[in-house]
Point group: D2
Chain length 357, copies 4
């Protein structure tokens, strides 16, 4: 079977395709024929050699994937052959808080999903909603679970509350879509008129163009009659955090997501001390959160937003496309079909801000 491995620190050029023998599941293990995977910022951090957690040498890349269980080992009780499953990025994080005991992760300290057949601990398998293809389900483990955790992992969002999302990356689009399932109002930001329309089509009640409205934090307060928002899904780090703090209501919640790069930026202590807010740094979420989220996605037949699909054979192009940035929703690599559109012409990363490697 074929898998893409990483030469850590070498960037996308360090990705290599290797042939290995298909493994057989041992006790409490399962073997999944992978249908699709999706990419997250962590993949680029790992390739750059910047990731804050330990990475296995020559690791099989990519945390997020979905597929079909094709074999189970002794003692496996929660999953059967034929089940359609996604992999939880932290297979041992069953429930409760994140800890060093449960921080082993797929495509990190453990081999990942960019392989034809993935050998996983039984607990890694989470059933996927019936209405989702593998390409769609593969978008969930990292970005959607992070968004879910941001919305309800500490104090759950209530109907009628207001959420602020930033931009149109994977976590932000899921945060918008999921926040609507909670009955919340969503204010989104973007710098692009077309994306603004897409955000509104996904349910955003208001969209602010942060380029034409540089004081978008004030615009958020105006839209909330001066109160500020109850919840911010903050994915921008130093570039946005001070404004996010000013956009939050008294006792509002700010989830701090991403920011995995070597970042020497700073924020003003005064921006924090002028508030009465809660900030929570999030590490994706537990298997229990993934299962709870899937109940919501299944009930509402929510469809993840897939930006573009690449075939397994062109997986490296998918990484290049993702690194270039500027998409809307998730970048997927499929094992089963041709990409939804050809990757033609060189991608010009210099035209996309902030993702160059």
């Amino acid at each position: 079977m074929k898998s893409y491995h990483a030469d850590l620190g070498a960037g996308i050029d360090g990705i290599v395709l290797r042939e290995r023998e298909r493994p057989a599941p041992g006790p409490h293990q399962i073997l999944v024929r992978v249908g699709a995977v999706s990419l997250n910022a962590r993949e680029l951090s790992i390739l750059r050699g910047y990731y804050p957690l330990p990475i296995k040498p020559d690791v099989v890349l990519v945390s997020d994937g979905a597929g079909e269980v094709v074999a189970i080992g002794e003692g496996v009780t929660r999953t059967a052959v034929g089940d359609r499953v996604a992999a939880a990025i932290f297979p041992h994080w069953v429930d409760g808080p994140f800890s060093t005991e449960n921080s082993a992760q797929l495509g990190g300290s453990l081999d990942g999903m960019l392989t034809e057949f993935a050998l996983l601990p039984e607990d890694a398998a989470v059933p996927i909603p019936d209405h989702l293809s593998f390409e769609e389900a593969a978008t969930l483990p990292c970005a959607a679970v992070t968004a879910w955790n941001a919305l309800c992992g500490s104090v759950p969002l209530l109907p009628g509350q207001t959420v602020l999302t930033l931009g149109s990356g994977g976590v932000s689009v899921f945060a918008l879509q999921l926040a609507k399932l909670f009955g919340a109002r969503v204010i989104a930001t973007t710098s692009d008129a077309e994306k603004s329309e897409r955000l509104k089509a996904l349910g955003a009640d208001n969209v602010i163009n942060y380029r034409t409205t540089p004081d978008w934090d004030q615009a958020v307060r105006d839209l909330t009659h001066g109160r500020g928002v109850d919840c911010v899904v903050e994915v921008g780090g130093a570039g946005t955090l001070e404004k996010s703090l000013r956009a939050a209501a008294l006792e509002g919640h700010i989830s701090l997501v991403g920011w995995l790069d070597k970042d020497v930026s700073t924020i003003s202590i005064g921006a924090i001390s002028a508030t009465v807010v809660r900030m929570r740094r999030i590490a994706v979420g537990s298997r229990a959160q993934f299962i709870a989220m899937n109940r919501a996605i299944g009930l509402h037949r929510l469809k993840p937003v897939v930006d573009r699909v690449f075939p397994f054979s062109n997986a490296v192009d998918a990484f290049r496309y993702y690194r270039a940035g500027g998409g809307f929703g998730k970048v997927v690599i499929t094992f089963d079909r041709a990409p939804s559109e050809p990757v033609d012409g060189p991608i010009k990363p210099d035209q996309r801000k902030g993702r160059a490697m």
Copy 2:
């Protein structure tokens, strides 16, 4: 100004209309020209003399009402003349848990809202959503806030979870409507085919006829693949609690609402010990919960279900109609217009079960 007072323990026949001078608000008080009130089971308990909390002699009846602020006293800052407000049933229960310090209640230890002009503590006034008439807003203080508290007062309901509601009384219909704003699935019960259709029209995902399906608890488990429901809004007391316990999921929540009558029934201790659930007895909710709920109702333009509207002059008929039971949604008394339909012919309480006085 005119008000309906109660001769406690004398039932509906003890209701008397009195003329008093219109009061002027003192410091931290407001005067509200009442637009409409709605009735709750507590009114009947009070009239019967069974209510568990102290009642003021010759009390002005009815906790729930909405209207317009027409005068404010010294030091009032949260409300202005002209504001459209509902009254919080426990005016001093601002936030946090219920306590003896905040248990004074309108239409109970304090005068209520079945009066042309109500003199209220400033904190009693809660702004009402713009899209609601006084008749609609008057349905909220007791039944809707109780339903809201049942759904999120302890551990908030999440999208994708399942709620069980019982019948089509005021709290149950609000619990159904509000649970849909939380993104939950709702299973409702009724014994009536027409009501079943109305419950579905309001969003119930499944409706079980508890008469034709006496083992409705098992039907609920079947509808949830054996898991049971995450939340029960239990309004039936001894008649339903054992089945509600069996219908609840492991670690599910059961909110215990109502049951205000002299009740000598019992439930089996074994029905509790066979579960791993949480039960919470609810006393309506705080002003903060009322305000949070109104944000949700306003955002979603949710419309309360009004069963029937009576004019102030025929208020006693409203009590008789409500006591007879069998309606769907809330019974309202308005100050401003004729009833939506004539009250013709004697109401036959003997034909309606369980509400005879």
Copy 3:
């Protein structure tokens, strides 16, 4: 190696000692040389054939035990040979709520600890505090974790709050000892003057003799200036629940523990409807709760109360002694030493109330 097995439904007379070969740990398994076990009411329910969860035929008895890890299987990372550990009664309940996925239990659907060597899933092993002997640590898994869960599993107990414990069984004595670590005030009940003194010596602020003060619920209210207690660890079922409800403060918490027998008793619905309390049925607790509790026990060098220790060879006497009831603290069976006192003379179960089999 020797183990005690159960002939289910045959009571204590159905206990048999069998010799089996010592197993070797497979992947993610560990082998523990058991040092001591302790008994809980569940053991008697299982022997009687009344237990509400499935029991493995010919099960090795007893959920609670502690010992030393003597071998580990492939892939075991959390535990090393030589570690002193206790077994978590639900080895798969790592954290979060109880569920069907994590309800397999030692001495129930899985073999238990009344054996010289126990083969356990890796997750079952919880490190024990250094200051505890195996006899002491063996008392923790069921009774102490249940008490811990009762005190902080939902809304944590705060210093200055008041807890009510009932009697001097295993859970109640741990609830008293642990509640003092939370800085709470403890009111305990007993019917025995000598036990009253022991409860006070363990930190009880007040002890009520429920025999001489049959209205002990009123006595509890008097001791709390009419407020009632913030938390009840309710182990008495139908015999005490109505009074516990009356002893609880508004918004107080009542943890419902035990009551595993075939119980046809009832409680009055009116006793519930007259309150505004939360009741929570508890199924011991998770591995995470066990670990958190051990941190508290270790920091404060809390010593469990061991009522009496029997040698492994006389294990059946331990069951008889425990069934007879009337002890104070936990009954332990040790593998390592003679009992602390001889078991001389027949135990007279008819002198001990409520535990006859």
Copy 4:
């Protein structure tokens, strides 16, 4: 009656003593004969003109005070003449989260307690524990309630968990004392050997000298076997926050307290992104938290640490002494007796770091 007022922005030199007529309480007001007040950093910020919330012109200074109720207005039910009470700094913050509705504060937008007789809203009065003098009780409203909120306002601290406190200011010393009531382990920092002994005498399990151990964050991790602490009461702002972040356990809580000055410092975004922690900015706490804390203080007869007591006539000296910093515990101004020690010689603020005005 005499009161000290502030000429805002003029610093301590702007404090003036004025004579006014003693007011009479109106409806829902009480009059308190003040026994003592205590000083907090907010007082210095207000005098400097830097405070982030609105300040009443010519405000009577100081939020924290305790005394005896000498008169009550119409409708007052919670307090009686003769009651010994402290004032809640936010009199309208009864319970629940902080909000613009409840942010009026004593010695800020409302007149404060540095007066012979304080006219207060009824809700401002919180009964004080019997074992405390007015001088001791006057230390509680701001510093102790902030510490209590830091320890249990979000997720309550549990016995066996570890708390980190910084230095020996008012909040930090209360955090240490209160954390011991929660059964927690406390690691404290200081730069002074004598203070180290005093911190240990108050219950600190470990004290780190941050001057001789500049990598005190690493020392904290070493003392917790690499885990880090569960809770940090962070009072140092930019000077300590990065280290506090590194000293916190995964999913640990950091309460952000104080930092009220014009602060242009920054912290590294990387210091946040390298963690999985929760940070919460705290604005003292609610009346309900004050009452709950007093139950704990009363049960355990906890004694606040009073650094020094000044007479009302020398109140300005108290401000100077407090501004100079370097004390241990709270600075108190009493109405009833001479200071515990003379204020002799000029205070040299240049010798004390970080508090010069």
